[in-house]
Amino acid sequence: MSQQAKKLFGSELKVINVGLEIFHDDLAAQSVKVIQVNFTPPPKIEKEYEDILSKLL
């Protein structure tokens, strides 16, 4: 087993959860050390502005 795989199977789990908070809460409920990163999608640029930008760049 690679050293990296050992780092996963053989060690205490330490988790970064990016996105849905339910997964953070469920891991915390299992006494896993976990931190939450909230994700917000970048704002959608209107199609016409996108077309203008792509012409300019």
Binding site: K7, L8, K14, V15, I16, H24
Partner: protein, 538 residues
């Protein structure tokens, strides 16, 4: 007559789970009969329509808009209800110890992180996952809609660094005994699972645990891994890791049919470069024949049920027989149950309707039905000629995978949000030709906290519709879970049993009984014998 109002908020985003929670709270606002807050996808608009909650304003909403919908008895309650709903939407989130908005900050705060669970929209996954891999962090990638080229790139990149990218679309993993995303709490033991099928991993790990065996690690590699565009990168890395893992003595590989070249590659690897015991469960019509030299060490199965049975057999040796009895019914018992159900049916009740939340369980049932019933219609059929014209309307024998895109765009998965299945069950009850309705009830972390309880109301309504019509409607269910789950198995099964639901220890057994009951056992003996042997080991 009730009054309905929709308010559309342009470019306003919250994830589907947050919106589901707000919708549930909104239903409790004084004077509100029903309410929903959803993103303006066509799926959600269809559902609002069926609930009587859609107005012209909502119909015009775009995908990136949010729709607030309320139904009240008294017109004067409309505006106060909408105001209260706006308050619910804008109140600050419950205080967590600390939530980060920047991945670099999070990586600095936990420099020894060894796993990341990523559930962001698929088009944003690559950048995030690559950064995590660069920092030496394994990734469980829950997101779906990750472009194939991104998946192939990330897996190659991870493999070169000795890291896992589990997923994309990985619903389930079990690592170090902890349930990741949608997974059950199972016994620990010596059986390792590599699965390209989320509910496949759940079913096999649950059945092994219920038989008294246990799981060392369960790696959900995503359905695309065994396709040629990835070429089984994580399947092979997973097998290598479990081969080297001292906790693991039996390795179970679970997948829908792999692409032919990748299948060959994986089988050659198992044959030539491994020494532990293997169960290869490739769900599909073709049966992989184990090379003569490997008999006794490598077994091939066509069902999740038999994968669990074989894995327990390899793990427990002589003790296995008594263990397997805990999850297996005898042939006499299965046929007796089917006859008893058939005796309650009217002649016109001929068709099976399966309302599934688990994709792999739908697929396992579809394979069994294709053999026992011939054609079975579905929104996700094996054979495209049996594709339902409208996913919302069943035809003859029908299996619906409620986790497919048309039911989930902009909504929480049906394992969390039972709304779509609740409506569908009542619809099926109105059809006089339906013989039995069958469903899976998925327990574990990630899932709804009371999935059986959520179905009690619709079950009563469905049974009442049938009774009023002078017929019975037998409802069959398989609860996939353990007593260690957050929703203990026994409590969940009791809730269904009290409503007269017939329960099965495995999905495959439920499928066989449903088919035998609907056909009154009129299936050629050679076909029945073969299916019972190949899928149930009887």
């Amino acid at each position: 007559m009730p009054f309905v109002k929709n308010v559309v908020k342009g470019n306003f985003y919250k994830d589907s789970l947050q919106l589901m929670q707000i919708s549930e709270e909104a239903k409790k606002i004084a004077g509100v009969r029903d309410a929903a807050v959803v993103m303006g996808t066509s799926t959600n608009k269809e559902l609002l329509e069926r609930l009587g909650l859609l107005t012209k304003e909502g119909r015009d909403a775009r995908e990136e808009d949010m729709v607030l919908a309320v139904m009240v008895e008294d017109e004067g309650q409309l505006d106060p209800a909408i105001s209260r709903l706006e308050e619910l939407l804008t109140r600050p989130a419950q205080a967590k110890a600390r939530a980060y908005y920047n991945l670099d900050e999070a990586l600095s705060a936990m420099p020894d992180a060894n796993l990341a669970v990523v559930s962001v929209p698929g088009e944003h996954a690559k950048e995030i996952v690559k950064k995590l891999l660069d920092r030496g962090v394994h990734v469980h990638l829950f997101s779906d809609h990750v472009p194939h080229e991104d998946e192939a790139y990330l897996k190659k990149y991870a493999s070169e660094r000795g890291l896992f990218v589990l997923g994309p679309g990985a619903g389930t993993s079990i690592i170090g005994g902890k349930a990741i995303a949608f997974a059950n709490v199972v016994n620990r033991g010596d059986i390792g699972i590599v699965a390209g099928a989320g509910t496949g991993l759940q079913e096999v790990s649950v059945l092994i645990s219920r038989a008294g065996g246990g799981i060392s690690e369960g790696l959900g590699i995503g359905g695309g891994d065994l396709k040629d565009y990835v070429g089984g990168i994580m399947a092979l890395d997973g097998i290598r890791a479990l081969e080297a893992d001292p906790m693991t003595s039996v390795i179970c590989l679970v997948s829908k049919p792999p692409s032919p070249k990748t299948l060959e590659k994986v089988i050659s690897f198992v044959e030539a470069q491994t020494r532990k015991k293997y169960v290869l469960c490739f769900l599909g019509r073709e049966k992989y024949e184990v090379n003569e030299r490997l008999r006794g060490r490598v077994f091939a199965t066509k069902s999740l049920h038999l994968a669990a049975v074989r894995a327990v057999g390899l793990s427990a040796g002589e003790r296995a027989e008594g263990m397997i009895e805990r999850i297996s019914m005898s042939r006499d018992r299965l046929e007796g149950l089917a006859s008893e159900i058939a005796s309650r049916l009217k002649p016109e009740q001929k068709y099976v309707r399966g309302l599934y939340t688990g994709g792999t369980l739908t697929y396992e049932t579809m394979l069994i039905f294709t053999e026992l019933l011939g054609g079975v219609y579905s929104n996700a059929p094996i054979d495209d000629s049996f594709k339902l014209k409208d996913s919302y309307t069943s035809f003859e024998h029908t299996l619906v995978d409620l986790g497919e895109e048309e039911f989930t765009a902009g909504r929480a998965h049906p394992m969390i949000d039972p709304t779509v299945r609740k409506l569908r069950l009542v619809e099926e009850a109105k059809d006089k030709t339906v013989a039995v309705v069958m469903m899976d009830v998925m327990l574990g972390y990630g899932s709804n906290r009371d999935p059986a309880g959520a179905m009690v109301g619709p079950i009563r309504e469905a049974v009442a519709i049938a009774v009023k019509d002078g017929r019975e409607l037998p409802i069959l269910a398989h609860v996939c879970g353990t007593d260690l789950d957050p929703q203990p198995l026994r409590e969940q099964e009791e809730k269904l049993a009290r409503e007269g639901v017939i329960l099965f220890p495995t999905n495959a057994q439920m499928a066989v009984v449903a088919a035998l009951a609907a056909t009154r056992g009129q299936i050629p003996k050679d076909v029945k014998d073969r299916v019972l042997k190949e899928y149930l080991g009887l």
